[in-house]
């Protein structure tokens, strides 16, 4: 069954990554640019609004979107491969930095709490962080192998807990401000040699470029946003409306949480104390609240608990996001086809998940628990995938003038030509940040370029090998066929009060399916999309249970239609010696109250209905009414029997 998720679940998945940066961004950015860090973090979070708009426009154009698809359509395959290679770098780093940061928080809590319990042990934060990070990655590896539905459940729970934590912390912080006052972060930039990278020595001549340098260091606040394009495919109908809702939730939550926490950390934690909490800033915030020590410790424990959960959730999101990206590549034969192999039980692309998780584990071991090192390497892929995406969507505005479902605003019409000023401004801003980051974030540049080059080469080689192997360029979905001898398994999944069966045969004639999907309500109705393989005589007995090329092509189109509409469908393939018997038996077995057909090129609609009515009657064992519908362009027949 192909199922879809609500905008709330989609937002929770994205936020598990994007909002988790609140736990480490403050420390990293302040180390890099000085006390003005919260202002730049806030600026980056406001900048997320136009970037989210960019993703809405791109995703509305391509359901299976994301940077790869958009850039490929606009600028060609090579640049698309570069952009997605850079993005993969960040997905790997997201998992690593989140898991390691979670470990640092736990180690910090242990080191705060153990003396209170008269246990005089000290936990080595970096070693503990590495071990814990590997455990987290292993846990979410297993979860992702089991499938997205379970993972999005956890994301919702984690984000709810984050909401509670934010309410408690902000209320307590308000009381602390009332008691002690608040030190607004100074608007002063203190770059280190490390944070200026190859611009080292030019501190005093940077001028306004310094603002861009600082902005670039804070850019990791937007990490995880690309996942929105990956989960769009899974989003339920109405897709665009839900995408906008998810974007609004993501923007508001991230701005409120990460922005406020960054300001509170600098405003409430004394400067000298804050340095000791660079790797676990929220713990420092908890321990700086007004109140007794035991209460501070309790808040720290709560903050750490929630932090561990959301940072672990970010690991999950990074695995899901990178799996989605690799799937898009595999569909285009840019990854070896063997990587798309579906898990026999859970139907997930387990080999891709294994690949991503392996790279994350290696990164965790190599970083040796140093969050700042990971932070310095971070955001290379984020910024460049945004640059490529913005450039691609901008180019598409001129290249493809078809009507858009939604556009980034600020478009000026001059002499009937639309000038996308908003989009162009966003592209220029992102490009500037990207170029400045290339010079200043040297670790990110060196490691990012190396990683990107490696992935680009891998994609290029895979693509060429796949081209040799296959002549046909059309994408085919992978399907898990459950070869049970009866409909018991399908019936278990069919539980809604209404059931509709749509019979399909020709991938070029799915008008009736699309029409049905338009008005279909996944909440109340199960939609079974059915096709039959007709075999006669002994051929039927010897039939192997696997899809042939035509069936794969047909169901690929079915899945694409379902994704486009965001409606849940249950594909079903039946081997039979008579199509009408097959349809009737399947429809009666699932308890369909409506059976929908397309217009046949061979049979008149009357003949189709007549034959179906006869077959239905001969097989019917109850008195249940059924509606037959035949839908085609300009054709709509409905008969109640």
């Amino acid at each position: 069954m192909l199922s879809f998720i609500s905008f709330g679940r989609a937002a929770a998945i994205v936020l598990c990554d994007m909002a988790s940066t609140a736990w480490y961004i403050g420390g990293i950015v302040e180390t890099a640019i000085g006390p003005a860090a919260p202002w730049f973090i806030l600026g980056v979070l406001f900048c997320a609004a136009p970037v989210l708009m960019l993703y809405i426009e791109g995703s509305a154009m391509f359901v299976r979107g994301g940077v790869y698809k958009v850039v490929r359509e606009s600028m060609g395959g090579s640049l698309a491969k570069v952009s997605v290679s850079a993005l993969m770098f960040d997905y790997v780093l997201t998992g690593a930095i989140s898991a390691v940061s979670a470990g640092q928080y736990l180690a910090g809590l242990a080191n705060s709490a153990l003396p209170r319990l008269h246990i005089h042990w000290t936990v080595n934060p970096k070693l503990f962080a590495v071990v814990f990070a590997l455990c987290v990655v292993a846990y979410f590896w297993r979860q992702n192998i089991r499938g997205i539905e379970e993972s999005s459940d956890k994301a919702i729970k984690i984000m709810s807990l984050v909401g509670v934590m934010a309410a408690v912390t902000f209320t307590w912080a308000a009381y602390t401000i009332y008691v002690r006052g608040f030190n607004w972060p100074a608007l002063r930039l203190d770059f280190t040699h490390e944070s200026l990278g190859w611009l080292k020595g030019s501190e005093h001549s940077l001028g306004k470029l310094g603002l861009l340098v600082a902005f670039g260091h804070a850019f990791l606040g937007m990490s995880g946003l690309e996942t929105l394009a990956q989960v769009y495919r899974e989003m339920e109908a109405p897709k665009l409306k839900n995408l906008k809702r998810a974007a609004a939730v993501i923007f508001t939550f991230a701005l409120f949480l990460t922005g406020t926490i960054s300001f509170l950390a600098v405003g409430l934690i004394p400067d000298d104390v804050r340095r000791t909490y660079a790797d676990n800033l929220l713990s420092g915030l908890a321990m700086s609240m007004a109140g007794p020590h035991w209460a501070q410790l309790l808040l720290q424990a709560f903050v750490v608990l929630v932090g561990v959960l959301i940072l672990s959730g970010a690991v999950n999101t990074s695995i899901m996001g990178s799996n989605g990206v690799l799937n898009r590549l595999a569909e285009d034969r840019i990854m070896p086809d063997s990587l798309r192999h579906l898990h026999p039980r859970f139907g997930t692309t387990h080999r891709m998940i294994n690949l991503v998780v392996l790279m994350q584990a290696i990164t965790i071991i190599l970083c040796r628990g140093d969050v700042y090192l990971l932070g310095e390497a971070y955001a290379f892929g984020v910024i460049w995938s945004f640059v490529f995406n913005a450039g691609a969507v901008l180019v598409l505005r001129f290249k493809d003038r078809s009507k858009r479902e939604w556009k980034v605003p600020f478009n000026l019409i001059v002499a009937r030509h639309e000038l996308p000023l908003g989009l162009a401004a966003l592209f220029l801003l992102l490009l500037s940040v990207g170029l400045v980051n290339l010079m200043t974030k040297t670790i990110a540049t060196v490691s990012g370029v190396a990683f990107t080059a490696f992935f680009f080469a891998l994609f290029l080689i895979s693509e060429r090998l796949n081209k040799r192997e296959r002549q046909h360029g059309e994408h085919r979905e992978k399907f898990n066929l459950r070869s049970a001898g009866d409909l018991a398994i399908v019936r278990e999944e069919i539980e809604k009060p209404n059931r509709v069966l749509v019979a399909v045969r020709d991938p070029g004639n799915l008008y009736h399916l699309n029409k049905t999907l338009e008005s279909h309500d996944s909440e109340t109705t199960d939609l079974v999309v059915f096709t039959s393989r007709i075999r006669k005589g002994l051929g039927l007995v010897d039939e192997t249970i696997s899809m042939d090329n035509d069936e794969e092509r047909l169901f690929t189109k079915v899945i694409e239609s379902a994704e486009k509409h965001g409606k849940t469908v249950t594909p079903m393939l039946v081997v039979s010696n008579d199509p009408f018997y097959a349809i009737t038996q399947a429809a009666q077995a699932v308890g369909a109250t409506e059976v929908v057909f397309g217009v046949s090129a061979k049979l008149s609609t009357d003949a189709q209905l007549e034959r179906l009515a006869m077959t239905w009657g001969s097989l019917q064992t109850d008195k249940k009414a059924v509606r037959f519908r035949i839908l085609g362009p300009g054709v709509e027949h409905a008969v109640d029997l």
Binding site: S532, D578, A613
Partner: protein, 179 residues
């Protein structure tokens, strides 16, 4: 994935299935459109075409239609299309005709099954012929009758019909099952 095949005709059984058949249309019963005059027991040796011809003549004769050949031609034309014979042993030829206001129907019961020329693996044991008005608003009733007759004439009833001694007995069997 499931494996479905046309079901094979069930062997004759002593106790017929008692599942009530679906009613045809809004209260229309199959027995109400049949009379003793339109239930035939063709002699052995007739093929499908001959049985169809006899049945068309009887149905049209009962309705007072002189040009029964036109009705036969129409149903023969329909028979060239998708099969109207079911695995149950029921053949269900039908046609939508201009100039009639109600459904005209007849049934031929074959003591010895005859093969369907289009599907030689299927044996015809009962042929149910009907004509319905060629009007758009009558098409649902046409389809309901197709479903109702095929639902009613299951192997168990067909077994009983082929064992019946007369049209009256056959009609009683249909009425009894529909009651």
């Amino acid at each position: 994935m499931s494996w479905f095949q046309k079901k094979t005709p069930e062997p004759a059984s002593e106790s017929p299935k008692t599942t009530p058949p679906a009613r045809v249309g809004k209260g229309l019963k199959v027995s109400s459109i049949l009379t003793e005059d339109t239930i035939l027991f063709p002699a052995e040796g007739h093929d499908k075409a001959a049985v169809l011809q006899s049945l068309a003549a009887a149905v049209c004769g009962k309705a007072g239609i002189a040009d029964w050949a036109a009705f036969l031609a129409k149903v023969q034309e329909r028979e060239q299309g998708i099969s109207t014979t079911l695995d149950t042993g029921l053949s269900l030829p039908h046609a939508r005709m201009d100039g009639i206001a109600t459904i005209l129907a007849g049934m031929a019961i074959l003591k010895k099954p005859i093969p369907d020329p289009k599907q030689t693996d299927l044996a015809i044991r009962v042929m149910f012929l009907f004509f319905s008005p060629n009007k758009q608003d009558a098409f649902p009733l046409h389809l309901q009758l197709l479903r109702g007759v095929s639902s009613l004439l299951q192997p168990a009833l067909i077994d009983q019909l082929t064992a019946a001694s007369s049209p009256t007995a056959a009609l009683e069997l249909v009425k009894k099952l529909e009651a």
